[in-house]
């Protein structure tokens, strides 16, 4: 016991400078990024130089055909749309590759690119209603777009669909500190809401890497999971009410702030995770937890995924109600983060380890939490479940440790093209998928030094059984895709997993829903779609198999 304690303390001393005051705050956030600075980070706004690197989706995925039931947009349409909106709310492109519209046509991964010439940015729910009613009447297809941080091509057009952006719907409507209920516009940026609540002693019940750009409406529409689901549950539980505009312009107003309301079918649930295919979410009412008085973050190194599992079961037993995150990544992910020095990250542990786990506790009593976490980590050291570990000693160190985890997607992107998969499955086979894919790509001769595939990386939310499998390659290549898909989907189905734990279906996985849902389920989904959107104008070509 003493030996373990000394070893842990030494690591702490070696890796991160100790300070006398432990952090009493929640995670420190960067200032919210505006959409333009986010786009600048992606290399868009300033030069437009990268535009040619993203081929049109329609050229790449030749099985997709523009639905002739949708009308082409005419000058009359544009003129009429202008009458429905406040000044400055309509963007009209002049050519396919117009720089103004490129950020709206291209996804975060630079993987999908549409050809829309029209972006509408309503400022009120009423404007959304008028625009949708008109598009529905005129059979003009519409893509709802929030922060455009999706990973499955769901938030950009395929052909010439009108982009309806929630950028300008960005006001907090009300916050009640007694109940912790927040009501806000759909276009509020997640991090801005977190900052707003932080000043009022609350936090958002969800947090994710894209928080500086993603919109709460998009989070709800895609049922975003993220880093706090383990503790605060899914949006199906925390969203209390929605305001939604249906394609025919009808506003379903149900921004309830009640924790309980059993009066009829819970329609809002259908919109949570519907990816903009049923209507447009314009307002969100959400239950926000109290900001914890005490937050601890530890990073530990482990020998194998078997050890990760043991550490997780121990955390559930010993940290129980204060456990707020249990994130894991492998050596390959850590290497990439080091290699690309994302935000100056370096390994705070003395040596390399096959696996890393970041665990966070959030509670109301710092002393109690320290005691629980200390006892738990000592037990892990003693039983040789972990090999090394550090505990953040202040808010900056908390941020630094989280940065190691949150930088992984960016580090992957810097490696070239990234094939991203997002699977949920039973914990015992969690990491086996990564190993099986590595073996498959190695056997096919495409993975290794100087080969097309440069890395196969596994990381994710162990507490939710949610693995992010990222495969980095020199470029997107049809042959590589064929080696991976539908293999990973078949794999997920074989182990009763889901082919999309949290990213959604979008364009990427629409053809593969059958791996996770039965025929009768998909049929019923199509019938539901028909009820809400009889002309199919909402986010076409996506979500469900055509």
């Amino acid at each position: 016991m003493l030996a373990a304690r000394t070893r842990l303390a030494q690591s702490l001393g070696a890796a991160l400078p100790r300070t006398t005051t432990l952090a009493r705050l929640g995670r420190v956030h960067l200032p919210a990024l505006s959409t333009s600075s986010f786009l600048a980070r992606r290399g868009f706004a300033t030069t437009g130089a990268e535009e040619k690197t993203v081929p049109y989706t329609a050229d790449k995925l030749t099985y997709l055909k523009r639905d002739p039931a949708f009308n082409q947009i005419t000058e009359e349409h544009v003129a009429h749309l202008r009458t429905l909106l406040s000044p400055g709310s309509l963007l009209v492109g002049q050519s396919d590759n117009d720089n103004d519209l490129l950020p709206y046509n291209t996804d975060w991964m630079n993987k999908y690119r549409g050809k829309s010439q029209i972006v509408v940015r309503p400022r009120t729910t009423e404007e959304v209603s008028k625009v949708l009613a008109y598009c529905n009447e005129q059979r003009l297809a519409v893509v709802p777009q929030g922060g455009n941080t999706g990973l499955v091509g769901g938030s950009v057009p395929v052909f010439d669909e009108i982009v309806l952006s929630t950028n300008l719907l960005n006001k907090v409507r009300k916050f009640d500190p007694i109940s912790g209920t927040l009501v806000c516009d759909a276009g509020c940026i997640l991090e801005s809401l977190e900052n707003y609540l932080g000043d009022r002693g609350h936090i958002m019940p969800l947090d994710l890497g894209a928080k500086g750009s993603c919109h709460i409406g998009g989070n709800v529409a895609t049922n975003a999971g993220g880093l706090r689901l383990l503790r605060y549950g899914s949006l199906h539980g925390t969203v209390l009410g929605l305001e939604v505009v249906l394609p025919d312009g009808t506003v379903l107003e149900n921004l309830s702030t009640l924790r309980k309301d059993n009066t009829g079918y819970d329609l809002k649930q259908l919109f949570i995770g519907s990816e903009g295919t049923l209507g447009i979410i314009t307002g969100v009412s959400i239950l926000t937890p109290k900001k914890p008085n005490a937050v601890n973050v530890a990073l530990v190194g482990l020998k194998s995924f078997e050890h990760v599992q043991q550490a997780f079961l121990g955390a559930r037993e010993n940290l129980s109600e204060i456990l707020s995150a249990f994130e894991c990544w492998d050596k390959s992910a850590a290497h990439l983060v080091q290699a690309h020095s994302v935000q100056g990250n370096r390994n705070p542990l003395a040596e390399e380890h096959p696996f890393y786990v970041l665990l966070e506790t959030s509670g109301s009593n710092k002393e109690h939490d320290d005691e629980k976490l200390g006892a738990y980590l000592e037990k892990l050291m003693e039983n040789e479940i972990i090999d090394d570990g550090v505990i953040a000693q202040d808010a900056t160190q908390i941020l630094n440790l989280w940065s190691l985890r949150e930088s992984i997607p960016e580090a992957c992107s810097k490696s070239g093209a990234v094939y991203k998969y997002d699977i949920s499955m039973p914990l015992p086979v969690f990491y086996q998928m990564v190993e099986d894919v590595r073996a498959r790509l190695t056997a096919a001769g495409v993975y290794g030094p100087e080969k097309m595939v440069t890395d196969v990386i596994g990381y994710g939310h162990v507490g939710d059984g949610n693995l992010h499998l990222n495969i980095t390659a020199k470029k997107y290549d049809g042959e590589i895709t064929k080696l991976i898909e539908p293999y990973v989907y078949e794999w997920a189905a074989k182990y009763s997993g889901s082919i999309s734990a949290e990213h959604g279906l979008g364009l990427m996985k629409a053809p593969y829903v059958g791996y996770s849902k039965s025929g009768p389920m998909i049929d019923m989904m199509k019938r539901i779609k028909k009820v809400f959107d009889p002309h199919g104008i909402m986010n076409p070509y996506k979500f469900l198999p055509q």
Copy 2:
């Protein structure tokens, strides 16, 4: 501070004998009651003597007319149904008041009574499918029935609908201790599941007074709330998957045990709270929390509801992640429990108080929880927010304190007829409804000693903003009803509340949904109903306005 501590300790000493060992268990449960013993408790099974006391719903609510689109049941129907079921699964009545069928025709409150002559009790999902497909084809109306513990007349027939009982669908299918996921038949009794899980170190995420009789399928179909919602959230978050049979016999099989699955519309959410109007839930997959190592229960007495609110805000701040229940009741409720000596309950506090709060903590470390609870209660005493209090010292005392709260509905029933309302609303006006209703009934001259209305009682889940308003009367009386309804619904609407927090709509509130949902919302619900149940055979006359 010292004075407060002494006072609290004295109360503890005076009211409940101290034991040296504090309880390290969850709440102790009574053995699960079988349906027959439950019915016996209601005075049904043995004599049938009370049957004449419950008038037929159809005679009482004359605005209800039997829908002629439904066929009358013939001998051919009965003969065919028999071929679809295992032996012993079909009960056929001989006359309107046949004793065998009375428990299926009459609700828990003895308020609603139907005239069904047929009860089917399938043993498998396949049998449910065959029965429903046949009923759908033959246009025979069906009422799904679980434990028949509903409070809004939703689980009994109005006319001659066939009762489809889940009594014989009562097997646990699987439990995974790593993920805590339980998959079971819809007819499993909640308390039996709690006992099953208790042996395996887990608990159900919901708990309610009717646990000895209610079925998990009925809990899901009515989106039951109950005593643990404050801590573990609603069934919309904890139910991971459902198996549902649609009216045409289609089985929607989606008993996923995954915590995250974003593949298509989350159809199961529609069934949670649909009250048997879309199909029949036959299987449930649900996330079960670890059984807490430490449970504490305290009962405190307070001067006013203003003090109750202050105590609640303090509990959220100081007990935070370990707070698992915050239940409140008024002096009238306490009086009734004492008067009827339900299970020998007596006031453990030295004096009477205008309000009582039972609060429970559940955590992983007994010492930490004791310290948090002790410090919180001392602060309340010091600030004169509470006037007295006791903390349970062992499992028996925990059970006794809980019994004070859980006996309230039974005590009300023993007073005569009970008008039950179940409103959610913002906390500041929580108790005002009780006062306003008292004033209204007093002004009308019907409330007081020797009057028709004997008591107006308020109790409920403060943490969820959910008040149970019970009005006891010598008998159910149309004039009294008119004084209360729609007054309480108008009141709820005025304060942005819900006319049904957790009980559902059933027959009782179907006409009043408009107080909590807008016209477009109700229209959309009707369209959804049509998709799943085009012939309207599932639980007709209920849920939505006709």
